[in-house]
């Protein structure tokens, strides 16, 4: 699923324009009644320590396949008109954008649910790993059990 199509994923180092991505989800269509989106950002603290930056590592090739598969599952569960997923990698600082998920559908229920589903599945199935820079040194972020339960409820 490549950029430019109705269902696309991008894994990139560059930042993205969330407003432009939102607009593109309904551009040149008259059947879109709902656009839901999520933007994930780098926080300046995690697990009791300040975070000055983080580096996101990923598995080139598998990452794109995993995201495509998650979008495909969302399309099978809900009636969706467009989906856009962007996930960044590399070194990011607090307030930087990490991830964008946008979903366009005829009605809000499908857009809300699919957007949350894609994020929950991405958290447990897309091969990304965060390494944080903190005052006590660099550390790899541990996976959260709450992320597993969030994905399991679907």
């Amino acid at each position: 699923m490549r950029p430019g199509s109705d269902f696309s994923v991008s894994v990139q180092e560059a930042d993205f324009d969330a407003g432009a991505e939102m607009g593109a989800l309904s551009a040149s269509r008259r059947d879109v009644g709902a656009v839901a989106s999520f933007v994930g950002l780098v926080r300046d603290a995690n697990d009791g320590n300040g975070v000055s930056a983080m580096t996101l590592e990923h598995y080139p090739g598998m990452t794109e396949k995993a995201l495509d598969e998650i979008v495909e599952q969302a399309r099978q569960r809900w009636s969706l008109l467009r989906v856009r997923v962007i996930h960044r990698f590399g070194r990011l600082e607090p307030a930087d954008r990490i991830v964008f998920v946008g979903v366009a559908s005829a009605h809000r229920g499908d857009a809300f649910a699919a957007c949350e589903f894609i994020m929950d599945y991405l958290k447990t199935r897309a091969p990304f790993w965060k390494c944080e820079e903190t005052p006590v040194g660099a550390r790899w972020v541990d996976a959260r059990i709450s992320d597993d339960s969030a994905a399991a409820r679907w």
Partner: protein
């Protein structure tokens, strides 16, 4: 038979390399057996030992320990993912 093995994140750091080409010894036919074989090298490789939180993929698809490994496969080991 040869397989390509990749390591990511904390496993890559513990092992000290991003991957390798490997000729599998006789008797190693699954992801779980390959993981145990590599962990038995000791030192940083023990990060792959049983009981640790290690996930695996074969040909870029997440799999369980019983997944067969065949010649030409790309096998990856990594910690639970933390994107998003």
């Amino acid at each position: 038979m040869n397989v390509k093995v990749l390591y990511f994140a904390s496993l890559r750091e513990a092992i000290g390399q991003p991957g390798e080409e490997l000729e599998l010894p006789a008797g190693v036919a699954t992801v779980g057996a390959l993981r145990a074989h590599l962990a038995a090298r000791g030192n940083g490789w023990q990060a792959l030992a049983g009981g640790r939180n290690v996930r695996a993929a074969v040909n870029q698809r997440m799999v369980g320990a019983d997944e067969p490994v065949a010649a030409g496969d790309e096998v990856a080991f990594f910690p639970p993912v933390t994107g998003g």
